[in-house]
């Protein structure tokens, strides 16, 4: 349903008087089927949000293409962009700043309906009331302002606004990161149930692996603008292939007593995206880095079993023979 082909996004920046291009997203290939929930996971600065924003035309791409339902939407004029907005919507991380503090909830949720449909007056109010009901809020919230709502309630309002036009695709950018865990659980349950009811497709962006595992059936792991591993969620979590995915999974502390010591934590920091390492971007922190290979040649994607792509030389059969 949604596909990105070699999608790249570079930001021109001025660093110390020198002009440079920061490659936030580097040739990303994603493939989301209808009804999928694809999780995009990575640490800060890995480019996961930029991918989501670029798909919805909130950023300009600098290379590659985005295909939505068989149609190239990489460059659109304003009319076509408006049609895209009907079919694909976004939910942002911080519901406090995603709602206009001077608008009532009614006005905020009605905004997309006013822009895209001819609903007005009592009908509009009714439609907004129904939307609020779907997200589990009573009608009394219609005339309240955002500051009167809790964080979880505000995020529900944002979701109501995003589903107002019956979109097919929702891009959720860290939708629960600003919420407490007891509220996060409610929102996650609810996102899962409306996905089935409304037949939605999700691109779910998060740094929280547990949340991704909970909501998504497929997952893509990003590091420094590239996707290093992509596959079915349970496969990736049970048997991570890329050394970075392994390290990431091992770094998450588990909420239970008596944790066995797992692998050593990764050493060093994430390299600056302005000064990317040669070869594999992960080779500076990788335990299994092979000198002469990982630090010089750029890595292709290797397809290993069951729809699983890994960007790592360890999965190159020819190289393994060479090493042996």
């Amino acid at each position: 349903m949604l596909e990105t082909r070699d999608l790249s996004v570079g930001f021109k920046i001025n660093s110390g008087g020198k002009k440079a291009v920061l490659m936030a997203v580097n040739k990303v290939n994603l493939n989301i089927r209808k009804g999928d929930a694809l999780g995009l996971v990575g640490e800060s600065g890995s480019g996961k949000s930029t991918v989501g924003r670029t798909i919805l035309h909130l950023n300009k791409s600098t290379g590659g293409s985005v295909i939505f339902d068989g149609q190239d939407i990489t460059s659109l004029n304003r009319t076509d962009e408006k049609i895209l907005r009907r079919r694909a919507q976004m939910v942002f991380q911080d519901p406090h700043s995603a709602l206009n503090p001077r608008m009532t909830i009614l006005r905020s949720v009605a905004e997309p309906l006013i822009l895209h449909t001819k609903l007005r007056g009592p009908e509009l109010r009714e439609k907004v009331g129904t939307l609020l009901e779907i997200v589990g809020l009573q009608k009394q919230f219609l005339y309240r302002y955002p500051h009167e709502l809790s964080g979880g309630q505000k995020q529900r309002v944002c979701i109501a606004r995003a589903i107002a036009l019956n979109p097919e695709l929702l891009v959720l950018d860290e939708p629960t990161s600003a919420l407490d865990v007891s509220v996060q659980a409610q929102i996650l349950e609810f996102l899962k149930s409306i996905q089935k009811e409304l037949d939605l497709t999700y691109l779910f962006i998060s740094h929280n692996l547990a949340v991704i595992r909970y909501v998504c059936n497929r997952v893509a792991v990003m590091y420094l603008g590239q996707i290093v591993e992509q596959g079915e969620t349970e496969d990736v979590f049970n048997n991570p292939k890329h050394p970075y995915t392994k390290a990431l999974l091992e770094a998450v502390p588990l909420p239970e007593p008596g944790q066995p010591r797992r692998g050593k934590p990764l050493v060093g920091d994430i390299p600056s995206p302005l000064d990317l390492p040669r070869g594999c971007f992960f080779n500076t922190r990788c335990e299994k880095a092979m000198a002469g290979i990982c630090d010089s040649r750029s890595v292709p994607n290797y397809l290993v079993e069951n729809n699983r792509a890994v960007r790592c030389f360890l999965y190159n059969k020819d190289l393994q023979l060479e090493q042996a």
Partner: protein, 336 residues
Amino acid sequence: MTNTPVLDIRDYRLNFNTFDGVYHALDGVNLSVGKGESLGIVGETGCGKSVTVRNVLGLLPSPPAEVISGEILYNGLDMLKVTPEQMKKIRGIEIAMIFQDPMTYLNPVFTIGTQMTDVILAHQKALAKGEKKSRKEARAHAVDMLRKVHLPNPETQIDRYPHELSGGMRQRVLIAMALSGSPKLLIADEPTTALDVTIQAQILDLIAELVDDMGLSVILITHDLGVVAKICDNVAVMYAGQVVEYGTIEEVFGRPKHPYTEGLLKSIPHPGRPPEELFGIPGFLPNLLNPPVGCRFQARCSKAMEICGTPAPNRNNAAHDRTVLCHLYSEGFDDA
């Protein structure tokens, strides 16, 4: 208690006087940390976990804060009553603190070295013991501390400005600075919340290592149950200004007693297991300007009874060093 507590907070009540009225932030908090022990305090936003420890070092401005009752005993000395002169000899030397966002606590216009030597010299001055360290000696001490927190190339890094370091490195600097006075107790307020998971794992390992090396006692405040389970011996769960459950990690996480603890544990998706159903906790935190009479969790509790409208008894199981603040256990409980 297996050993005498280093820090003992007893029946601590604290209000904030605001324009909207009196905010009952803490209501009868009891906590203690023994020598070499690490205590985790967990809870959601606004439960009072940070407020509880701020006043250990006199960091809450009064007004608006007003201590209603209780004492915070550090080796028998009531920290709520110490004079500013005494406090100078305790801050950083006996008890040190690190915070969530390392950039906010480093001055952007001075180098790491300047800031660290200032701290070391201030400790010297406060103690005023005979011979004084020169700036040069203080700097050497700072380099040693940076080496101890595994900052690469401390001799050169010490002359850098905070903006030249990454988030993880800044947190290492703050830890080095906090430990430069060889404190006995370290209070860490969400030390890894601003960091990525792979960096968080490094910092948690570092804290665990320093605790062992220096025989430190630690109070770690966090909202992340995984972090607590990883490095603490004991855990206190707070809700709306009260400690609702306290015990060892094994007890509290393995056999939660209080309905809130249970709810909290059922709310987190587990990163290591395939998805099971999640149960959020319905409802909201009570408004502490006008807290409910009796148990503060009753409005959200699935097991609430009529009796919950009266203050819940704090049940102590001495054998297991475990407390639960809940009417369900008014007959006491045993840990089977």
